[in-house]
Structure formats: C-alpha cells, structure tokens
C-alpha cells in the first residue's frame, strides 16, 4: 500500500447472526480489502445485497466487524474518540428526508457542523462561512435558511448535506447511494457537487449500483458480488476493459442510450424450484 493511503480496509468480514439457540448466519461482507487515497473518489459498485452498505456502516462505526479492521491514517478507526473521528469522516445517506431532524430548522444543522470542529467560533463568522458553502453548492441562503426540512425538496436537502460536509471539511465522505431518491434532472447536479468536494481534497467513498454514475465520478472502482470483491482497480480499466466474468456480465446488462440490446435470444435462465428456494 502506498504511503498516502487515507483509509485502509483490511480483510474486513462481517457476518450477521440471528437467533440465540438456533443461530443462523448471513454474510454481510467477506474478506474485503481496499484502500482510499487522499482526495480520491472510490466507487463501490455492486447489486443489491452485495454488501456495499455493510462496508459503509463499518467505516462509519455504526456496526462492528466480525474480523478484520479498518485504519484511518494508520490508526484503527475504533481507537479514535467519536468527536475526533466524525470530524474526519462524514456521511451522506441515501434518504435525504430521513437525514434531518424535523423538529429543527436547517440553520441548526449547519451551525452545529461548524462548532463540531471548533466550538469557539463566533456567530457572525459561522454565518459568513455558511453563506460561503451554500453558494458553492448552488443554494440561495434566503431560500433555505430559517426553514424546516419538510419545506425543501430532496435535491435541496442532499445539497445541504454536501454543504455540511464542506463546513466540516472531513478527510473522507461516505456517500451511500446519494442520488437514488433524487429526480433524474437534479441527479447530475448532486454528482457535480460531489466533485466539488473532491476539488476541496476530500476523499469520497461513492456507493452505487448505477454503473453510469460510477463511471462518471470515480477514479478507482471496487466491484462487489455476494459480499466479496471480484475486481478492483482504476475506473477506466475496470469499467471499460473488465477482466472478471461477473463484471463483464454486469456491464453487459446496463442499458445504453445509443445501443439496442439483441433481445431475440431466448431467456436462458429457467430456474427450478430448488434454485428459487435456494
């Protein structure tokens, strides 16, 4: 691993267990290793149930791994104090409507973001910085400040979360499907604003199932299938000259704008009941 690795995931395994007497196991992710460099966008690509969110939850310290570990700048992530850790690692979740506390105005979230790093900041200074970052994400302060989350659209809320990340200036932002609940026409804006995070030298772990978005935003890509990493490397290599058969199949299933599938071939998979019940 190179010395400028910001976050290193080493042999991470998470197995969910259920029950007390009759214990059943479910593999979240299995022996996953990758690393994110400073200021890099890493796309974590995989279908539903492939373990993408499990990895995000471990990195955000929301769940503990079964084995393996994650290092931030060479130190185990669980050795940081929460305040220290979340000043370095922040998140943007899939559901913008569920990311805000509906009892408070937007302002509170943004002011708290400034005081997370430095609790001594004056009100005027905080206000100035908030206006600055809102401008970067293309929001008009008079439109959003003083309002409650339910008065804003999903796209606006998601952009506020990006603005919040800019205020905290973490080293890493974990973005878990940030565009899936946003309208198609504002999706592009969110992706572009994520790229502004990159311009501010913030690394992004971009989790998605959308190959097009991963190709647009990522520098490196990790492809996951059933909890395991099947292929990783530079985005241009993995997405345009894939080596693993699963990656190839995944890419061939992506609908393209200027190319029509050959739909004449028969549907080959005719699963039996035992397959289905699998």
């Amino acid at each position: 691993m190179t010395s400028d690795a910001l976050l290193e995931v080493k042999n991470l395994t998470k197995i969910y267990t259920r029950g007390y007497i009759r214990v059943s196991h479910q593999v979240g992710c299995m022996d996953v290793s990758f690393s994110i460099c400073k200021g890099e966008v890493l796309g974590l690509l995989g279908q539903s149930g492939s373990g993408k969110t499990t990895i995000a939850n471990v990195i955000l310290r929301l769940i503990k791994p079964t084995s393996g570990s994650v290092y931030l700048e060479g130190k185990d992530i669980f050795s940081y104090t929460p305040r220290d850790y979340y000043a370095r690692v922040q998140q943007i979740f899939q559901d913008p409507y569920g990311s805000f506390n509906y009892f408070y105005r937007i302002d509170r979230v943004l002011h708290k973001a400034v005081t997370l790093k430095n609790s001594q900041t004056f009100y005027a200074e905080r206000k100035r910085r908030i206006a600055e970052v809102l401008d970067i994400v293309g929001l008009n302060p008079s439109e959003v400040l003083g309002r409650y989350p339910h008065q804003l659209s999903g796209g606006q809320l998601q952009r506020l979360l990006i603005a919040r990340a800019l205020l905290i200036e973490p080293q890493l932002v974990v973005a878990d499907e940030p565009t899936s609940m946003i309208d198609a026409s504002s999706r592009a804006g969110i992706l572009n604003h994520l790229l502004t995070l990159k311009e501010h030298h913030i690394a992004i772990l971009f989790i998605t199932h959308d190959v097009g978005q991963a190709a647009y935003i990522s520098d490196t890509v990790v492809v996951m299938h059933e909890g395991k990493v099947v292929e990783q490397g530079e985005a241009s290599k993995v997405l345009f000259a894939p080596e693993h058969p699963y990656t190839r199949r995944l890419l061939s299933d992506v609908p393209r704008l200027h190319e029509k599938w050959d739909l004449s071939q028969e549907i080959v998979s005719n699963p039996t009941v035992s397959d289905l019940r699998g």
Binding site: A184, S186, N192, G212, A215, Y216, L263, I267, N270, R277
Partner: protein, 330 residues
C-alpha cells in the same frame, strides 16, 4: 404507419381535486398507439406519467377526476361506456394495466396459482379446477421463460425480479392487445431489469401483446424496448417521435436537458462529458406558469414564451414538438 391505431387519446384532461386545490395532473394530452408499437413515456417525477396511465385505463384513483377529452381503446370509448362493460370487456381482455410496484401487492398467504384462479374465475364466470389452471397458465408461464413450478410458490419465495415477471405473466394471461406498464424496472437491479425487458420483448414477439405503453423515468431502459418516445413535462407532452430521432436530435429544450442529465454508461465514449442538471424545479401544478410551461427553466426562453402557449408543431410528418423554437422562431 398504415396500421390501425389501437389506442387514441385526444386532448385528455384529468385533474386532482381536493382540499389542496386543483392540480392539473394531465392537461391536454393527445397520443396514438398503433398496432405493434411500443411507446415509452418518460419525464421527471410528478410530471403526470402515472396519471396519464390511470386515465387511459379508465381506472382513476381517489381524487383524480376525468375532465374531458377522449380515450378510444380498440373501439371502446372508455369514458362513454358503463363501468361494468369497461371492467368486463376492456380491462384485462383488451387492455392490461400493471400499476407501479404491483409486485408488492401480491397476497403473501396465497400461492401464485390461487391468484390465477381468481383471474380466470372472474373472466369465465365459472370456477376452474386447479388442473385446468395448471395446464393453461403453466403453458403461458413457460412461453414467457418462467418455470411452471413458480405457480406453486408463495410470493415471498420469489426475488423482486421474478415477482415482477410473474405480475407481467398474470396480467397478460388473456392476451390483451394493449399492455400499460408503469415503472416496472425501478426497483430492480440491472440483471433482473434486463430479464424483465426480455420478457416484455418476448410478449410482443409472440404476438400476445400487440402494443405497449411503457412508463419509466429511465430513458436508457425505454430505449431498449420502445419505438416511439414521448417526453412529458408538467402534464403535457412536449416531444413525441421515433426513439432514435428524439435521442439523436432532441428538438425540445427540456428533452435536451433530460438527456444531458443522464449519467449513462457508454463504453464507446470514454471521455466524460460534463453532466448538466436542469436548473430550478418543476412548477406547482396547481398554478402552472402561463405560456410555455417550461419557460421559467428554459435557457432559450424569450419574453414571448411567457405569454403565448406554444402549439404542437409537427416536424417531418412524424414528430411532434411543443415549442416556439421548433419551427425556427416565433
């Protein structure tokens, strides 16, 4: 196309009426669906795609009210015939409608076979035996690439993609001429999405379904199966035309904006063209902007766009564009 149109929609209007006011869900839509044609209806959320589907099928949900216009489905005028005729003769026999997230409404305590029993009983007015269904429905399922064994399973035993395909198979049991599908692929991953598209293509190939109205917000998916693309904005169709033409040379600024906002995966173009989102947000449909409905967000808008509503301009005889700019200016 010389073929007879199966569905004719003329100046259709449907509003949501409630305490919140009057929302102009669909406001003056004209569309024809010829035999053997698949039309893809695309647009942002809330532009009225699903409302249009509900109005075409005549099954309007609560609050949605038909406000005028004509819908002709294979000779039946949907809003002039009695409800009972609509239910018995048009729906399911001639036109099948698969609403959004239909796969979530499969009863979890019934086997797939039991659903079919209800469907068959309703249509033939006699209770069929299980073996009858087993043979007829099994044949139908197998011709769509689904295993006959699926009939024995409960919905929770199926994956999302399989459930959606089962729903498609159930609703096409009577070989309706027209199939209206609302967002069938939105909750599926790419591989099951492809299988579903194949199933739909197979239906048309085998002649079980003649025409299709395919509603989606995913333009690349619509491109795979449709011949005609209709772009909807704020309750109106802004552009209709053959899929290749619309995608290669979009005429309406809104279509251009939508296409520029898609992060699609194209192995041929490695370079990343910068994505652009459409500024602003869709207008409040209780009070749509005067003149062209897109003018507040349009980069090409002139002063006159805010005053005069644009006409439907026909280009090259087969494309419709609702824009003042389409014919080279006002």
């Amino acid at each position: 196309m010389a073929k007879e149109p199966l569905v004719i929609v003329e100046n259709l209007r449907g509003y949501y009426v409630g305490q919140f006011g009057i929302v102009q869900g669909v406001d003056g839509v004209s569309l024809t669906l010829s035999e053997g044609e698949a039309v893809g209806l695309v647009g942002e959320s809330g532009c009225g795609k699903s409302t249009l589907a509900q109005l075409v099928t005549g099954v309007t949900g609560p609050l949605l009210h038909y406000q005028g216009g004509r819908v002709l489905v294979d000779g039946y005028e949907v809003y002039k015939i009695p409800q009972e005729v609509l239910r018995k003769e048009v729906l399911c026999k001639r036109l099948s409608y698969i609403p959004q997230a239909a796969m979530n409404s499969l009863n979890p305590v019934k086997r797939i076979l039991d659903f079919l029993q209800d469907v068959v009983q309703e249509r033939t007015a006699k209770k069929p035996s299980k073996s009858e269904i087993w043979s007829t429905a099994g044949e139908h399922f197998e011709s769509l690439g689904l295993s006959r064994e699926v009939l024995k399973l409960y919905p929770h035993e199926l994956s999302g993609g399989m459930k959606q395909r089962v729903v498609v198979a159930i609703s096409t049991l009577w070989n309706p001429k027209i199939l209206v599908v609302d967002e069938p692929t939105s909750a599926l991953d790419v591989s099951s999405q492809k299988l579903l598209i194949k199933t739909l293509a197979l239906l048309r190939e085998r002649g079980m379904v003649k025409s299709m109205l395919f509603i989606t917000h995913d333009i690349p998916v619509a491109r795979q199966i449709c011949e005609t693309l209709a772009v909807m904005y704020c309750g109106q169709l802004v552009e209709v035309g053959p899929v290749e033409d619309v995608l290669d040379t979009p005429c309406h600024p809104y279509t251009r904006g939508l296409l520029a906002a898609i992060a699609s995966y194209e192995p041929s173009e490695k370079g990343r063209a910068r994505l652009e989102s459409i500024p602003g947000r869709p207008p409040d449909m209780r009070n749509p902007p005067p003149g062209c409905r897109f003018h507040p967000r349009c980069s090409l808008a002139r002063e006159s766009c805010a005053r005069n509503e644009p006409p439907e301009v026909i280009l090259d005889g087969h494309r419709m564009v609702r824009c003042w700019r389409a014919k080279g200016g006002l």
